[in-house]
């Protein structure tokens, strides 16, 4: 009897297929309208000019949850890329994401909260951000960090903007041409202010900064210099020397780094950098087509009031118990409006949590081992490819987990051949630097087994048999 009532009696509501997540029935809606004192919803729209008011929609064009999942499965399956052995890097790296990450980030209290405006009701998220800041400080060796920025590119831009504020009236920034070309373009976007000058420092044939040229560019109008670690070509620059030159010129060094490098090589603080920025994606975030990732920014103590975005600080409650709040808010847009240090409001909190869990899952010793594992697998592949590929000036430069290789065949043939073997061989550098025709940037992480690396080498070797056309 009940079933029949469902299918016949309430045809209007029960037979509906699509989703709307609205908990009120027509009955409740009508009770609410009665309390308001109107007969229909349309009356509530009386302030909207009639000519722009749209008519009600009668055709339900939504989907059920099951249909929605099927649709998304079909789209995901169109992405054949997930079946390839992937050697693409260049700012987005395939690492193992610990299972614990999604177990933590999917917790309702984190996933469905917003910016901790009510600190007493948000101690969980506030402490997480505080711990993220602590982890970024530990990795970079610098004194203070913020709650996160959008991505590596915007972190570079914000790092330069804060350096410009701190070094007033200097108005010039120098950017190494070996910084990720995407990052450079985004920086240009953020520094489009008419008073700011941006100049680019050329690199030598081995991809490292032309230090002679750089020395000449460093004048007393330079506020900041941006370099990348490892640089876009995977190489380690003479950063300590560069930081000294910058310091002597009265400017600040902004160092953009893959944070995993800090598990093996010198920290930003040991190198003498003033501001450390980058993307923490390698810890805890899957590739997911480029986002969400998580930008980080850390600096020396004396620059703290120039930091952009949210910062969490420790304090006490009225009983003297430790707690956390958003702090130094006088820098921010909701208080300072057009004079704020940045316009950023919503940042990447949940991605920062993912990254924090990734960092802590490895912990102090694990991060060193992970970084060494990355280096050693890249070194193995580089060594094996030496006899198969052409020698290049890049070969002599120290590296971390990305290497540069020039095959003896044109890049189009290389890509076709490798893809036939189920391998995406690396980023073809020609798309970024036309003179680096047929060069590939190859990222090797802990996700590549000996078997996979040997398959790469075999595939490279069999290139010889490929026709040039």
């Amino acid at each position: 009897m009940w079933l029949i009532e469902c299918s016949l009696g309430h045809r209007n509501t029960v037979g509906k297929g699509s989703m709307d997540f609205i908990s009120n029935s027509e009955k409740q809606k009508n009770e609410m309208l009665a309390e308001i004192g109107v007969k229909s919803v349309e009356e509530l729209f009386c302030s909207i000019p009639k000519k722009m008011l749209l008519p009600p929609i009668s055709n339900d064009d939504g989907l059920s949850e099951y249909e929605g999942i099927k649709l998304m499965e079909a789209l995901a399956n169109k992405n054949t890329f997930s079946h390839f052995d992937n050697y693409l890097g260049a700012g987005a790296y395939e690492h193992h994401v610990p299972a614990l990450v999604s177990a933590i980030t999917s917790k309702s209290e984190f996933l469905t909260a917003y910016t901790p405006y009510q600190p007493e009701a948000s101690q969980g998220m506030l402490q997480i951000i505080f711990e993220f800041q602590s982890a970024i400080c530990a990795l970079t060796g610098l004194d203070v960090s913020n709650a996160s920025l959008y991505d590596g590119a915007s972190a570079c831009a914000e790092g330069l903007l804060m350096a410009l504020r701190s070094q007033k009236p200097r108005q010039k920034v120098l950017i190494a041409d070996s910084v990720h070309p995407h990052y450079s373009e985004v920086i240009k976007q953020y520094l489009s202010h008419p008073e700011i000058t941006v100049e680019y420092i050329p690199f030598l044939s081995d991809g490292t900064m032309d230090l002679n040229h750089f020395g000449k560019m460093l004048d007393d109008n330079v506020a900041a210099v941006l370099i990348q670690y490892p640089n876009f070509f995977g190489g380690i620059e003479k950063i300590q020397q560069i930081c000294k030159m910058v310091k002597n010129a009265g400017a600040l060094t902004v160092l953009c780094a893959n944070p995993l490098v800090y598990g093996l090589y010198q920290s930003a603080s040991e190198l003498g950098a003033d501001i450390a920025v980058g993307d923490s994606q390698p810890f805890g975030l899957p590739l997911q087509f480029g986002g969400p990732y998580v930008g980080y920014i850390a600096c020396r103590q004396e620059l703290v009031r120039q930091l952009p975005g949210r910062i969490v600080g420790e304090t006490v409650d009225t009983l003297g118990n430790r707690g956390y709040v958003l702090t130094l808010q006088a820098r921010e847009q909701h208080i300072r409006r057009e004079k704020a240090t940045s316009n950023i409001c919503t940042n990447q909190a949940l991605a920062a949590l993912a990254s924090l869990v990734g960092i802590l899952w490895y912990g102090k010793k694990g991060i060193q081992k992970l970084a060494l594992t990355n280096y050693q697998r890249a070194a193995y592949l580089k060594d094996k490819l030496k006899s198969i590929c052409q020698p290049t000036p890049f070969d002599a430069i120290p590296f971390f987990n990305e290497i540069i290789v020039k095959f003896k065949k044109p890049s189009v043939i290389v890509q076709k051949h490798f893809r036939q073997q189920g391998i995406e061989p690396g980023v073809s550098l020609e798309r970024f630097y036309p003179h680096l025709k047929d060069y590939f940037l190859i990222a090797v992480t802990e996700t590549k087994s000996l078997e996979q690396l040997d398959k790469y080498v075999e595939t490279a070797r069999s290139l010889e048999k490929c026709e040039d056309q």
Partner: protein
């Protein structure tokens, strides 16, 4: 108090595992002079302790899943779990942002179709999903306005008009983009003061940034006049889409006269708020501005999707790669589940719920704007100042009753302001409970105001000292 993980470190505890370290790899040693001197001072923790730590922290946080969360201008609606499920499909998570186009057709189709759908919903002709959050969307939009004037050789336009009720991100964005911010007054009806707008619009006006419905929850009945004034002065209209939840398939920003806009997908389209992001702030515009949209763009030809990375007229890049893809793909599923039909229902219910609450709360607080509101409204909680009770005290006391506080002290132009947005998700029963809790709090204010003044009493901490935090900033812990 939960100690930080940095204080819970125990030597040689660990959670990690790594693939087998083959002998052939061990031979390779990194150059000694580059090695880090002091290891990063990170804690050493086992997986069980890590897990418990975060479980403990979760208990100290309110979310929509656990509490009613009427945070005005933030649209705290249900986050359907089906979004999370689908975003975790390996076909999406394993795609590299520089992967060859033929191997990422699913991703490109999502981008292309979501742009088309949202364009149609907003009455715009083109768009980009690249901006990572609302504020970055604003920046893109304002930069496009700058490019538009530059390309027309109209170089004197260095001012952006912004109502005094606007979100702080609006003036911050205009300032970042190099514009002078000119505030426009709000009149006693909560709408833009047209006389003031006429006076301030000039050959220096690059554009006006406007939220409609505005941050008071009111739809501007003079929107056509506003658009005419700004357009006649040669400026463009920017729409801040933070409040789109009120008007989906009811009115379109394009039809109101707006030229460019952003949406907050984490608000209206329910990709989760994540404790403060990641968001997604796509930008849409009309034909006047579409050439300037950022790169890369997705185009469809003969049923194949391709990416355009270079375009002379475009403003260029704004994100490292393709923006927050895994966030906007959730919005894609959300609009597919609802269809245009469901989205209109959402807006209708959001407006009904807000007006219902507003009517009922009028008995407890001053209602500065008596007309019908849209999806949210402001109350002025200045009725109890004589008892020494401010809006922030009421907000803290709500937490004790298991309700997240509304947005307080925003917009800045309303005294003791509480901005309340119930969203369509909440049932009448939940709204009724909210009213009865506020009635109880008002009774407490009259009988035992100390309870309210010292709230909260039931959470993991009591009221926190924000002044102390800013005076002597402690911004990290070092591993011990």
């Amino acid at each position: 108090m939960t100690k930080t993980l940095f204080e819970k470190s125990q030597t040689d505890q660990h959670a990690y595992s790594l693939p087998k370290d083959e002998n052939v790899f061990k031979a390779f040693l990194p150059p000694e002079h580059l090695l880090r001197q002091t290891p990063a001072q990170l804690p050493e923790i086992s997986e069980i302790d890590l897990t418990r730590h975060f479980s403990e922290l979760a208990k100290k946080n309110m979310g929509i899943d656990t509490h009613f969360y009427p945070l005005g201008s933030c649209t705290m609606k249900l986050n359907p779990r089906v979004n999370e499920l689908c975003a975790s499909f390996s076909g999406f998570t394993r795609t590299h942002p520089l992967a060859p186009e033929e191997s990422i057709q699913g991703n490109l189709q999502i981008i292309s179709e979501l742009i088309s759908f949202l364009c149609q919903l907003c009455g715009m002709t083109a768009g980009s999903l690249l901006p990572n959050a609302g504020a970055q969307g604003e920046y893109v939009g304002v930069r496009m306005i700058a490019e538009y004037h530059k390309h027309r050789g109209d170089h004197g336009r260095n001012e952006i008009l912004i109502p005094d009720s606007a979100h702080g991100t609006n003036p911050a964005t205009a300032g970042l983009a190099g514009f002078k911010v000119v505030p426009v007054r709000t009149n006693s009806e909560g709408d833009i003061d047209l006389e003031d707008l006429r006076r301030l619009s000039s050959e220096r006006t690059a554009g006006l940034m406007l939220t409609n419905p505005n941050t008071l929850g009111l739809f501007s009945s003079v929107i056509t006049e506003i658009a005419d004034i700004v357009h006649n002065a040669g400026g463009l209209l920017y729409y801040d889409g933070a409040n789109l939840n009120a008007i989906m398939n009811i009115a379109k920003p394009g039809a109101m006269g707006f030229d460019v806009m952003h949406l907050n997908l984490h608000k209206t389209f329910s990709t989760p708020h994540g404790g403060g992001g990641p968001g997604s702030g796509p930008v849409f515009c009309n034909d006047k501005l579409k050439d300037f949209l950022p790169l890369p763009k997705v185009i469809k030809q003969n049923n194949v999707y391709t990416l355009v990375w270079k375009d002379a007229k475009s403003m260029g890049k704004i994100a490292s790669f393709h923006g927050n893809f895994a966030i906007y793909l959730r919005a894609y599923l959300y609009v597919k589940l609802h269809g245009n039909y469901g989205l209109r229902k959402i807006s209708e219910q959001a407006v009904v719920s807000a007006n219902y609450l507003k009517k009922r709360l009028g008995k407890l607080f001053t209602i500065p704007f008596p007309q019908y509101c849209m999806h949210e409204f402001v109350v002025q909680a200045d009725n109890y100042l004589n008892q020494g009770i401010k809006a922030s005290d009421i907000a803290k006391r709500l937490l004790d009753y298991g309700i997240h506080a509304p947005t307080i002290y925003f917009p800045l132009i309303i005294k003791e302001c509480m901005l309340i947005e119930p969203t369509e998700s909440e049932s009448k029963a939940t709204l009724d409970r909210f009213v009865s809790v506020l009635e109880k709090i008002v009774a407490e204010i009259l009988e035992t105001p100390e309870i309210v003044k010292n709230a909260p009493h039931t959470l993991s901490v009591r009221r926190l000292d924000e002044v102390r935090a800013a005076k002597n900033p402690i911004l990290k812990r070092v591993s011990t």
